[in-house]
């Protein structure tokens, strides 16, 4: 099997529910190959973000398994999960979730400040400049976050997600707060950066116009219907 098609993420017999809700996410089987770029669509409340959180180890499934390569994610301890998330996962959020009291540089380097499994070395600084250059924010590195446009803020968030050279980039509606022009720029940027770093890109979106640009698409509505036995 060539590397491109080696399964990297494998979900089997997954079942998850929130204690205070009747909602249940059930995924009998799902595989994502390395270097894949997958779009996830579906109505609000269908479990798209929950799936991203399960993949990132933020949530633990009630039943079943989530594997990353040979590693069983839901078998890891809390500390191992945090270290795994910090080193292997790059997260991009809809509202960017940048820290207002840090400037652009410190925001991008934040994962290194908050998790000691990651160590800062000269390579990290080089990578910061490289990413800033590729995303066009080199001149903004010392600027406060409030002085950036929405598009610039999302670029900073993408740099923060990629600074640790993650194996998986999970983007939760990263274009949700952007105008059409910036939407395309951000999607292009995410796809390009993920491709250049050989990372899997899984992006949740409501925007069906973007879906065609991805190699694979998962429609949560259909998926749930299948899981519930609806043909």
């Amino acid at each position: 099997m060539c590397e491109k098609f080696r399964p990297m993420i494998k979900i089997s017999d997954l079942c998850f529910g929130y204690p205070s809700s009747t909602f249940r996410l059930v995924i009998p089987e799902w595989t994502v190959e390395s270097k894949s770029q997958v779009a996830i669509i579906g109505p609000s409340g269908s479990g798209k973000t929950t799936l991203l959180h399960l993949l990132a180890g933020i949530l633990r499934c009630d039943r079943g398994t989530v594997r990353f390569g040979n590693r069983l994610i839901n078998g890891l301890s809390e500390k191992q999960l945090r270290d795994f998330r910090a080193s292997q996962i790059g997260l991009v959020f809809q509202r960017f979730e940048l820290i207002d009291y840090l400037n652009v540089r410190r925001n991008i380097l934040l994962p290194f400040s908050i998790n000691h499994a990651l160590s800062t070395d000269p390579k990290v600084v080089n990578r910061l400049h490289e990413l800033a250059e590729r995303t066009g924010i080199t001149s903004l590195l010392e600027r406060p976050i409030q002085k950036l446009s929405q598009g610039e803020q999302q670029r900073v968030a993408i740099c923060r997600a990629l600074i640790t050279q993650p194996k998986i980039v999970l983007a939760d509606e990263p274009t949700g707060n952007l105008d059409p022009e910036n939407k395309q720029v951000i999607v292009d940027l995410l796809k390009q950066q993920a491709a250049e770093t050989d990372a899997i890109l899984i992006m949740v979106t409501h925007d069906v116009s973007l879906v065609s640009q991805f190699e694979a698409t998962v429609d949560f509505q259909l998926w749930r219907q299948v899981a519930q036995g609806v043909s």
Binding site: I99, L102, P111, I114, N115
Partner: protein, 390 residues
């Protein structure tokens, strides 16, 4: 270290909120700290001065007023006693009895009319110049000289009794003949004159143009065997000079002239007891044991201090509750930030230590600033302690 650094960046970014919080906490910590530092200082000073001035004799009235007047030259509403009372003490052999006349000021500095023995008993030494030798001379305490910007050879004018006086109540221009060494006592902030100079200021003695040899009808109303009657046009001297000193004289019996207190500056218990006994026999007089009065004053002050402290603790509790509320609200606002950090790989312990560092930094800043401010305020209040007690 990163948690502390992030906390520093956060409080620096929200500097207005931080300043407000630190300010509120500083104020609530400041008052008890100042009270705590200042109260023993005041107590020690009161006792020290009282021990140096064991017995104060004055007119019947408030013993506390008399004590503070005798010790700190505090203005008193007590009736005056007579110079003759002091003379009686002298006749009885109480050499340590020193007269005191404190009814006037230079700016806000008391003019202390006394005798040269006062310097001897108080062990006051001259830093420059000499002690007063004639009417109109004055010796300045070290701080008084400093505050008035005067030195030996300069002149100083007493405050008029009232700016509205129509009775030609002239202030007296006095010559500074000496400046005392700094002794850290109320004597530093006083203008010392001979008791007779104090009487001149009080218009009991005066000098004026020579009317006996004058034939000017504007100055002389009448001349007969009994003497010369001067007109109101005769100007009194407002300064005692070599030329005018001979014209200065007192009318009436000096033993009837006023004093405000008599200090018994002997350390001997026997002398103090005898003097107190003698004073009690003189009509209209009282003898006050300064240390006893001071102890009573301190016990009252201590009770008030406890009351203030209780109030302050209540206010501090309210302030700290508000601080807790602000931190709680801040945490609520920063919930997303904490969640993001967790999602990016931070442990809950890390975010907790970041918040704890932030709260600690604010508390440390508040405690540090209140500590420094309390020292500054205590020093400042301590410096003006004698003025405050006077």
């Amino acid at each position: 270290m990163d948690a502390i650094w992030l906390a520093v960046l956060h409080i620096r970014y929200h500097w207005m909120r931080t300043t407000l919080l630190v300010g509120c906490l500083t104020i609530s910590l400041l008052l008890p700290l100042v009270l705590r530092q200042l109260a023993p200082k005041i107590q020690a000073e009161l006792h020290r001065r009282a021990k140096q001035t064991p017995l104060v004799i004055g007119s019947v009235g408030s013993p506390l007023d008399l004590t503070l007047h005798g010790l700190y030259f505090r203005a008193s509403d007590l009736q005056t006693l007579k110079f003759g009372n002091w003379q009686e003490f002298q006749r009885k052999g109480f050499e340590a009895a020193v007269p005191l006349h404190v009814r006037f000021q230079v700016d806000r500095i008391p003019i202390v009319g006394t005798h040269l023995e006062y310097f001897q008993f108080r062990k006051l030494k001259l830093a420059s110049g000499e002690v007063f030798g004639r009417l109109g001379d004055c010796v300045l305490g070290a701080k008084a000289a400093d505050e008035l910007g005067l030195n030996v050879g300069d002149q100083v004018i007493s405050n008029p009794k009232s700016f509205l006086s129509i009775a030609a109540d002239y202030p007296l221009r006095m010559n500074v003949v000496g400046v005392l060494e700094y002794v850290d006592s109320p004597d530093d902030l006083a203008v010392f004159v001979d008791v007779k100079t104090a009487w001149v200021i009080e218009n009991l003695g005066h000098g004026h143009q020579d009317v006996i040899g004058s034939e000017d009808p504007n100055l002389v109303l009448e001349k007969n065997e009994q003497g010369t009657v001067a007109s109101a046009a005769v100007l009194p001297f407002t300064e005692i000079t070599d030329q005018s000193i001979a014209s200065f004289h007192f009318h009436g019996d000096q033993s009837e002239f006023p004093l405000t207190a008599i200090l018994i500056l002997s350390e001997e218990q026997k002398v103090q007891d005898l003097a107190a006994g003698f004073a009690s026999k003189l009509p209209g007089l009282q003898a006050v044991l300064a240390d006893k009065t001071v102890s009573e004053l301190i016990s009252v002050v201590f009770q008030i201090q406890q009351l203030i402290l209780a109030t302050v603790i209540f206010v501090a509790l309210a302030t700290f509750s508000l601080f807790g509320l602000v931190i709680g609200l801040s945490l609520h606002i920063r919930k997303n930030e904490m969640e993001t950090m967790f999602k990016l790989g931070a442990s809950r312990g890390f975010t907790f230590s970041m918040l704890a560092a932030e709260v600690s930094l604010i508390l440390v800043l508040a405690m540090g600033s209140s500590f420094l401010l309390s020292h500054f305020l205590t020093d400042l209040l301590g410096e003006s302690l004698y003025r405050w007690l006077a």
